[in-house]
């Protein structure tokens, strides 16, 4: 994939989600490698530093570089609000757009058939 250019916010988003998807902390070069797209090392490093300054990442020394890992979204308030959004009445939310609706047994069968090799 990759036409290279993306808006700055999107890049930050991808760096963050890459870190989230990793089971262990990542160094800038590891993030760079996972993102592909020929991003410059300094670009990745700058984004990581910025996110760290915002308090969204923690870092540990790993050899010469730092390895970064994401900080959980924070306050109890947010977590509580989030859970309220995920749970209960919000299987039919009014104005909140959720990525996934409920999945019926038929849906699961359709998806398995269409996408073949999925577990």
């Amino acid at each position: 994939m990759g036409t290279g250019r993306r808006p700055a916010g999107a890049l930050e988003q991808e760096v963050l989600s890459t870190l989230w998807a990793s089971p262990y902390p990542l160094t800038p070069s590891a993030v760079q490698e996972r993102l592909g797209d020929g991003l410059a090392y300094t670009t990745v490093k700058t984004i990581l530093d910025r996110l760290h300054d915002k308090g969204m990442l923690t870092r540990v020394r790993e050899g010469k570089a730092y390895a970064y890992s994401p900080v959980m979204a924070q306050s109890d308030l947010a977590a509580e609000a989030m859970r309220a959004a995920l749970d209960g009445s919000s299987d039919r939310p009014a104005v909140l757009s959720k990525f996934l609706g409920e999945l019926s047994a038929d849906d699961a069968a359709v998806i398995r058939e269409l996408l073949g090799e999925l577990p």
Binding site: M1, L35, M82, A94, G101, I111
Partner: protein, 322 residues
């Protein structure tokens, strides 16, 4: 008049019944815009029509016409059968509890979303990740800066379970989907459709239909943004299957299966003719409502003039003069 006053009611009934099917036939962006416009137009005009019809019946109640200084002799020959007016009035009363219930529910959900947006506005980045075993993400709408109210930025919230389930390209497609919701202001379409369903509860199926259309719209936008339809289909499918076994409600609303199927097929056809017909129907409904209101106004003017002819000693009140 006699046809024009019924047309909005017929349109609301038709939209309430056929809206979801129409939404599935139209391309999702067109479906979202047209269904929202149709819901608002038919909800307000059908309510106006019922109120108008009911007013003919109410004014035939002995004594009421005199209070309004309207001539009974003219009202007797009104264009609307009082029986029909009575039925319209009863229909309004019957819809009221449903409207109240939907209104209270909408208020609570809108307030909940507002609290959520406010909570996440303190988060330092456009994306917030929270720990949850369910794979899920959602777009939290923002609020532009208003007088007396600070702006609330948009946020995308995802669970760590979802980010771990998807690969890099799939995550990109998922974020593109959520960003499409925010960029296209889908929450406003949803809010307006819910309001329409509060105004006229006959349209109760429309909010789900517009929700499905906005999901498909965001899917198509995301597929275009990443240049690949299948990658989003796989993201959806994989994430949905990890959430199994589900707690399946009798009526699932956002039909993940249908969305995956649509993404595995070529982009949807435009169906310009169908869209044009619906656009014309909306215009005709609004026109007929305005026309019937104008004729009713004219009829009551006549009744008022006749009353004053019969009571020459009572001066015209300021409000009755034109």
């Amino acid at each position: 008049m006699t046809v024009n006053v019924y047309l909005p009611v017929a349109a609301a009934l038709l939209l309430g019944a056929a809206g979801p099917a129409l939404g599935r036939r139209l391309p999702p962006a067109v479906a979202t815009v047209l269904l929202t416009a149709a819901a608002l137009a038919t909800a307000t005009t059908s309510l106006a029509s019922l109120a108008l019809l009911a007013s003919y019946a109410v004014l035939r109640v002995p004594g009421i016409a005199a209070v309004g200084r309207l001539s009974d002799a003219v009202l007797v020959h009104g264009p609307i059968n009082p029986m029909i007016g009575t039925v319209a009035g009863l229909a309004l009363l019957a819809l009221l509890p449903f409207a109240l219930r939907a209104g209270i529910r909408l208020y609570h959900e809108a307030a909940g979303t507002y609290r959520l947006a406010k909570t996440f506005s303190a988060h330092p980045a456009a994306i917030a990740v929270i720990h949850d075993t369910r794979a899920q993400a959602f777009a939290v709408p923002g609020i532009p800066p208003l007088p007396g109210h600070a702006a609330i930025p948009t946020r995308i919230v995802a669970t760590d379970a979802l980010l771990r389930t998807l690969d890099g390209a799939q995550r990109r497609a998922m974020f593109a989907h959520e960003q499409a919701h925010l960029r296209r202001h889908h929450h406003l379409f949803l809010l307006l459709t819910h309001v329409a369903a509060v105004v006229n509860p006959l349209l109760w199926r429309l909010p789900d239909a517009v929700t499905a259309a906005t999901e498909r719209w965001a899917d198509e936008d995301a597929a275009a943004a990443v240049g690949d339809r299948e990658v989003l289909a796989r993201a959806l499918g994989r994430a949905a299957l990890t959430n199994l076994p589900p707690t399946v409600p009798a009526m699932a609303q956002a039909h993940v299966g249908a969305r995956v199927r649509a993404l595995m097929a070529p982009p949807p056809p435009r169906r310009r003719a169908l869209a044009a017909v619906i656009g014309l129907a909306i215009a005709a409904t609004v026109w007929s409502s305005i026309d019937s209101a104008r004729e009713t106004d004219h009829f009551f003017d006549t009744a008022r003039a006749a009353w004053h002819l019969a009571h020459p000693h009572i001066p015209h009140s300021a409000s009755a003069q034109r």
